[in-house]
C-alpha cells in the first residue's frame, strides 16, 4: 500500500517514488469508448489529457488500449480548480465534432468530480454524470446513475458528455501489439488555454494513522470478548 508523504512545501504530495497511472474511472471511460467503436464498427477515438509531460505515459496507455490519437494540453502543473481545467478542455473540444465526450466519474488525485459536468455546461451539451450503465441507439442514450440506496434512469440525445462510473466495463490490458502500435499513433502537444484559478490547495495533511492489529482470539469462542470490548472500550454497543 502506498503511504503518501507530504512534500516540503506542505501543500502537495511528495512525488518521489510514486507511479503515475490512468485514474480508475478514466480506464473505464476509455474502455467504454473502445467498446462503442467495436460495436459500431466505425468511429475515431481521441484521448485528451491536460498536464505536464508525465501525462504522455497515460495517453500512450490509452493509445495502446486502442484509442486512435492523443492530445496533451500542456501545463507545468495541473491546477486543483476544476473550472480552470474545464475551460481548457472546452476550448480544445468545441470544434471537435465529437458525438460523445466521456470522462471518468472522479479523478483519484483531486476527487472533485467537477470537470465533466463543467465542461458540458461550457460546451452547452447535454450531460449525464456517474453512468453505471449506458445504451446508445438512434442518436439517443439511456443511462443509469446509482444513488444512495436507489438508482435513476435518464435519457438524452447525442452529442453529449457522459461521466463514467464503475460497472459498465472493466478496462482491458494493452496487448503487446497494441503497445507497439501505440508508438506510431499521433500524440499532439499543445499549450493549454487554462481558465483563471480560484481554487487552490493551501495545505496537505495525512489523516491520523490507525493503530490496528489487535487480534483478540480465535473462532466463536472469541465472541464474548469482542462484545465486551465493543461495549466497554469502543462504546458502540
Amino acid at each position: 500500500e502506498t503511504r503518501f508523504k507530504i512534500a516540503a512545501d506542505g501543500r502537495s504530495v511528495d512525488q518521489a517514488g510514486l507511479k503515475f497511472d490512468m485514474s480508475d474511472f478514466d480506464g473505464y471511460a476509455v474502455e467504454v469508448a473502445l467498446r462503442l467503436k467495436e460495436k459500431e464498427g466505425q468511429g475515431d477515438i481521441t484521448v485528451i489529457s491536460l498536464g505536464p509531460a508525465v501525462v504522455q505515459e497515460t495517453l500512450r496507455k490509452a493509445l495502446s488500449m486502442g484509442a486512435d490519437r492523443a492530445v496533451q494540453l500542456e501545463v507545468e502543473s495541473v491546477p486543483f480548480d476544476g473550472l480552470a481545467i474545464a475551460r481548457a478542455l472546452a476550448a480544445e473540444l468545441k470544434d471537435g465534432g465529437y458525438d460523445l465526450i466521456l470522462f471518468g466519474r472522479m479523478s483519484i488525485d483531486s476527487s472533485n468530480q467537477t470537470v465533466g459536468p463543467m465542461t458540458a455546461e461550457l460546451l452547452g451539451l447535454p450531460c449525464m454524470t456517474a453512468a453505471s450503465s449506458l445504451e446508445i441507439a438512434g442518436g439517443r442514450a439511456t443511462a443509469r446513475r446509482e444513488l444512495e440506496g436507489a438508482a435513476e434512469i435518464l435519457e438524452f440525445p447525442l452529442p453529449a458528455v457522459i461521466t463514467i462510473d464503475e460497472g459498465i466495463a472493466r478496462p482491458r490490458l494493452p496487448s503487446l501489439k497494441g503497445i507497439m502500435g501505440a508508438k506510431k499513433k499521433p500524440l499532439e502537444v499543445k499549450p493549454a488555454q487554462l481558465g483563471d484559478v480560484h481554487l487552490t490547495v493551501t495545505q496537505m495533511e495525512l489523516p491520523p494513522e490507525r493503530t490496528g492489529g489487535r487480534i483478540i482470539g480465535e473462532g466463536p469462542d472469541a465472541v464474548p470478548e469482542l462484545v465486551r470490548l465493543l461495549r466497554t472500550e469502543a462504546k458502540v454497543l
Binding site: 473550472l83 468530480q113 467537477t114 459536468p117 435513476e152 434512469i153 493551501t202 489523516p207 490507525r210 492489529g213
Partner: protein
C-alpha cells in the same frame, strides 16, 4: 454578512437527511460570519411545499419552493437552471449543496453556469477574509487537502455526515417560484427512479456497517450479515468488489475506492482480505472489527479488534450475542 444559499435535496417528494445537513451547514456558516439569512431552495412535484416548514426548523429564513408536476423526479437541467438563476440574483456569498449523487451532479453545472469555481466534498467550511476555506479528502481519503476558494458566490458541496443536522428554530418565509426553464424543454430527461429497500438504512448514514467479502463463499450467506445488521438495528450491509463483480450484491453496496465511502461508528468486515481499494472506502470508520480465516490478511492491520476463524461460524454467534447485549 451577505445571505447564504442552501439547496435542499428531495427524493420522491421527501426531504433527504442531506438537505437538513446543507441547511444546518449554511446556518452555522452564517452565524459564524456575522449573521445574514439562510435561503433554501426545494424543488419537486406539487405537494412538496409543506416540507419548507421543516427547513425553517433547521435554520432557513426563507424557503423558495419550486413545484411543477413534471418535477416529480430530479431533472438536472431544470434544477441547475433554477438554482443558478436564484443564486445569481440573490447576491449570496456562499451557496451550499450536498456531496450526494444528486448534489455532485448539480453543483458543478450551477458553478459553470455562474462562471465560478467550487469546492467539492467539504468536511469543514469557514469564511476567512475574502476566501472560503474547507477541508476535502483527496487521493481516496489518504490525504486531507485544505483548500482556498476566492470569488463570489462560492459554491460548496458538503460531505454527507460531516455536519449533523441541528435545530435552529426559524419560522421560514415561504416563497414560490417557477422553474427557470420549461421542464418539457430539458434535453436530459429523467425516466425512472428505482427505489431500493427504503426500510433499510443507507450505507452512508448507518452508524454500523456490516460488510462481507468473497470469504462468505456463496450469496446466500449474506443472510448471516443481514441477520447481524438486524440485531444491531441501526446497521446497513456492504460488500467488496469481488462480491459485487460476482453479482452476489448490487454494485451500489460496494465499499471502496470505486464504490461508496463510509465512515460509521462501527465497521465489521467478514471474509474480506483488506485490499487497498477496499480500505480506501472504510478506513476512517471509528472502530473496525475483522473476521478472517487467514491470520495474515491485511485487514487485521487496520482492525481494532480481529477474530481469526470461519466467518460462517462466528457471525451467527455474534448475532446472538448482540441481540443479548441489546436486551440489557
Amino acid at each position: 454578512m451577505a445571505n447564504t444559499f442552501a439547496y435542499a435535496e428531495t427524493r420522491a417528494g421527501e426531504l433527504r437527511r442531506v438537505a437538513l445537513e446543507a441547511v444546518t451547514a449554511a446556518r452555522q456558516l452564517a452565524d459564524a460570519s456575522g449573521g445574514g439569512e439562510v435561503h433554501a431552495l426545494i424543488v419537486g412535484a406539487p405537494g412538496v411545499a409543506p416540507k419548507a416548514e421543516q427547513l425553517g426548523r433547521y435554520g432557513a429564513d426563507v424557503v423558495t419552493v419550486v413545484e411543477d408536476s413534471a418535477l416529480d423526479k430530479y431533472s438536472p437541467e431544470v434544477v441547475a437552471a433554477t438554482a443558478a438563476q436564484l443564486i445569481g440574483a440573490g447576491g449570496y456569498r456562499v451557496a451550499v449543496f450536498s456531496a450526494s449523487a444528486q448534489g455532485k451532479d448539480l453543483a458543478p453545472r450551477v458553478a459553470a453556469k455562474l462562471g465560478v469555481s467550487m469546492i467539492s466534498d467539504a468536511t469543514s467550511l469557514q469564511l476567512n477574509g475574502d476566501a472560503v476555506v474547507s477541508q476535502h479528502p483527496v487521493n481516496t481519503g489518504k490525504v486531507i487537502a485544505k483548500v482556498n476558494l476566492t470569488g463570489s458566490p462560492a459554491l460548496v458541496t458538503i460531505r454527507p455526515g460531516a455536519v449533523a443536522p441541528a435545530e435552529a428554530n426559524r419560522a421560514a418565509r415561504v416563497e414560490s417560484a417557477k422553474p427557470a426553464i420549461d421542464p418539457a424543454s430539458a434535453r436530459v430527461v429523467p425516466k425512472e427512479l428505482i427505489q431500493g429497500n427504503t426500510a433499510q438504512l443507507d450505507l452512508g448514514e448507518a452508524p454500523v456497517v456490516v460488510s462481507g467479502g468473497r470469504g462468505l463463499k456463496v450469496p446466500e450467506n449474506f443472510k448471516l450479515l443481514e441477520d447481524l445488521a438486524a440485531a444491531f438495528g441501526n446497521a446497513a450491509v456492504g460488500a467488496t468488489r469481488a462480491v459485487t463483480d460476482e453479482g452476489w450484491r448490487p454494485h451500489s453496496d460496494q465499499i471502496g475506492q470505486t464504490g461508496r465511502l463510509v465512515s460509521p461508528e462501527l465497521y465489521i468486515a467478514a471474509g474480506i482480505s483488506g485490499a487497498i481499494q477496499h480500505l480506501a472506502g472504510m478506513r476512517t470508520s471509528r472502530t473496525i472489527v475483522a473476521i478472517n480465516r487467514d491470520r495474515e490478511a491485511p485487514i487485521f492491520k487496520i482492525a481494532d479488534y480481529g477474530i481469526v476463524g470461519d466467518a460462517l461460524e462466528i457471525v451467527p454467534v455474534l448475532t446472538e450475542a448482540v441481540k443479548e447485549a441489546k436486551k440489557e
